[in-house]
Amino acid sequence: MKIEFNILSAFFALVIFTSCEKEYTPAKPEGGPKYVVEGYIEAGDNPFPPYIILTKTFDFYGTLNPDQFTGSFVHDADVRVKDGNLEVVFQEICFSDLTPEIRKEVAAQFGFDSDSLAIDYCVYLDVLGQLHPQQDKSYDLTIVTEGHTITATTYIPDQVPLDSLHFEAPPGKPNDTLAQLRCRISDPAGVRNFYRYFGSTNGGPLKTAFSSVTEDLFFDGKSFEFQLFNPVTTDRGVEPNEFGLYIVGDTATIKWCTMDEAHFDFWNTLEFSNSNQGPFSSYTRLQSNIHGGLGIWGGYNVSYYTRKVAY
């Protein structure tokens, strides 16, 4: 329904809205800022080390500057992750604490240029590498800061790898410079599976497309083929005819993840909320698994695929 609703709204917006826009400033919140957690823990192929970013919300301002962003990070929190037996205390590391070489390497992972990065990012890490995330295991997060306790739990499900990936000519008019990425998956029957994918080209940072999550509601237990959009060409400002397609000759990397339902719900509500702004839309509150704050503590089971864009 999301698809037809969006198309429908866009069409009618185009047709009738000789609209007039007027900027306004929403009222200030009464309750003050809230804590925001963004943390991930991965198992599978070449997993990224677990990390947690702890920030506070901003009031609604017309603009935000580097000082406000840097000031939003919450420091000196007691951050712990427990896998049932082992409890690991995460240490806070800020970007400014790193050597220039490591800074450059870390910044590149997230698509930043370390030399001109204006924000001093801080994350909580398992610096000693004590945790070894595994599939079919739950991980409890506990944060205590400024007398406030935040908790969350995530589960890393079994990996469901892609069976195959291939590029083919995009539908419609013949075009030998663009390619559509198709993948096939054999979905395990009888259990609900939740998936998310990231994509990058030519070794760039991994990004997500406008709709990066799905569940097996329509293809439970089936071998199913579908398109994976190129997050780079779904960005704003890209030529519409290239939307979601890859450029022939590039190298594409896909990070394919399985996750638990609560993790899926967070991204599903987030993506629906972001795409559901318009004449008839109502608000969607993001479904978070964080108790005592906003955000997500999410487990992934990942697999990577790199292919040359050709058909």
Binding site: L8, S19, G172, G278
Partner: protein, 792 residues
Amino acid sequence: MTSKAFSNLLMRHTLLRYLLTCVCFSIIILAHGQTNHTLSGYIKDKESGETLIGANIHLEEDLANGTVTNTYGFYSITLPRGVHRFVFSYLGYQSFTKEISLDTNTTLNVDLISGIEMQEVVVSAKENQQDENVQSTSMGRVNLPTEQIKVLPALLGEIDILKTIQLLPGVSSAGEGSAGFYVRGGGADQNLVLLDEAVVYNSGHFLGFFSVFNADAIKNTTLIKGGIPASYGGRLSSVLDIQMKEGNNQHFAAEGGIGLISSRLTLEGPIIKEKASFLVSARRTYGFDLAQPLISKTDFAGTNYFFYDLNTKINYQFSQKDRIYLSGYFGRDVLTLAQRERDLQFKLPYGNATATLRWNHLFNDKLFFNLATIYNDYQFRAGFDQDEFHFDVFSGVRDIGVKFDFDYFPSTQHQIKTGFQGTYHRLTPNIVTGSAGETDFVSSAKPKFGNEFALYVQDDWKLNDWLRINLGLRGTLFQQTGPYTSKISGKVYSSGEVVKTYNSLEPRIFINTTLGPNSSLKGGVTATTQYLHLVSNSSSTLPADVWVPSSEIVKPQRGWQYAAGYFQNFQNNGYEASVEAYYKSLHDQIDYRESFVDNSVDQVEDEFVFGKGKAYGLEFFVRKNKGDLNGWIGYTLSRTERTFPDIENGRVFPATYDRTHDLTFVSNYNINPRLTAGLVFIYATGRTFTPLERLYVISGNLQTDYGPRNSQRLEPYHRMDISLTWTPKGSAAKRFKSSWVFSVYNLYNRKNTFFTYTDYNTDLQMGEATIKAYKVSIFPILPSVTWNFKWQ
């Protein structure tokens, strides 16, 4: 199984047994007890032969001694033997007075003459008309003849019945330009919209900006927002009862118009003069058709949008006592989006179809019978095709029903109505089918089925000159039936097997105390139950919204409304005024949970949360019926609240359509016989909305944290529309008449907010973000012109 369930219900409910006894008793006494004499017949329009609904019949010497025609134009009045002078009158028609010696039962069909020309229709010769709004027990009931609606200003010149009723106190609009409406704090799905007795499940075209009712095919519109009589049921808040024209049985006639976005044509005439007639009425938009030469040269060739309506009706009068009607409606919105470059096509057709076959029979001068078989079907479909990917969503409602009603007029003290209604529902949720290459997929959602039965009896009882009571009782029963697999027990139910049964007894009591010849005090209690529900996740209802039945998961919605009002007419009924107060409690209300994502989920019921609501308000209404200047002023002071334990821990919040103040001013002025001016002004408290309060970064992008639901309001809504209807000189005497309607919507170009949105630009590399919140208004000042014609 069905009859067994009904028997069990009877065993359990003493009150229902009493109701059935009343019904049986009513039927038994129908043929007895005739001591006085009865005058009965039909009241019709002389020119077209159309029956007139709600026409007055009363004694000239005793205004309070009278009756009105029913939905089929029939009247019956029983009086002591003797000579009486009867006055027959109807809004917009010349009254007719006749002296009749009632020595025996007498049949008198009366043809009233429309007293005005095409552009003067609102003027009413009401001097002799009984002040029905003061004398009757009905509350919150407004009759709107179509001719009255046609002279009001309209958005883009499209005459719209639903937008006109929004101008009445207690009725608010679903949004700027929307034909959707809310009545006394009830939801959009809580209005029973009937077209020739068939339920219309989606009454809007073009996302609700235009209603599906083509005014040329409509005879009469009645809105009941308060005291809903026992003969109606199935919705909590209101009844909008719309009757199509029957077709001119005197001579052939044509009517139509050419407007900016659509054209209309209606043909009607006798098949057998004064015995049988037909009506065919069609409307279609063509804005995108005109643009096709341009669109076809672009990458979007094949893209188009239009909507159309087709109304048809035939009737045949077998004898003075028997008449049969067959009416139908078919309407569709059709959107096609195509993009050749990407081999993409999106099709979205949706619309209603209804059919009603009715038989009216007069058992005797006092007993009128109506039997109707009703079919309606609302379908919504969306299909997406690209290369080897096909995706189709279908939802809909299909009803097959039968109902019968007896109208019994034993004396001027009693007017008894009783009847039965049974409907078989099939409700299809969003069923997704598709294919991706060689793989087919289909969602596991399945249609749901239900039987709905209702039995009612009501008596409009005039106890004496100053006290009148309308007592009604409606017993309803709903069964969810198979095929169905229980989500709770896992039990598999076969076709027709009963899954869950609900029942309800709904008392309806209305009292009228006459304070003087032109004033009265009224009070009433209305209990209602609703078994079908439309839950929307949008700020307004949309064609894609899905109707769901009561089930083992979803309880029926129940409501009680208490109302009291003072009614006063002035200057020989030239002015009518009323003040009504109401309090409404709503139970088992339904909404989506706050984090609902419309992903065509397996069972939409799993996404529901349940709660309660209340609404209360005060309505003021003054209408001027006579003279060159006429119209009304309505004002409502109200509050509408909802509470759901699963939404913000049960915090009480105002509904989206809560309006503290709602003021409407509607006026027509007949400048001369060829020129009529119309003016509408609306002022309403701004709509509530859920504000964004905080921002935070997730995955490098700003996200929104919303504040409490509906805790802020948009700025007040106000707008003025004007119209000028001009009938060219000389055309009045000819069979062919035409007129031009010039309208200006939103005369002073008020920028009323239609929706809000936020736009984020985040550059985390530079540590900068720009956040802007916008209010968007649509429909600036919009002039339009429509040419209407009539050939008769």
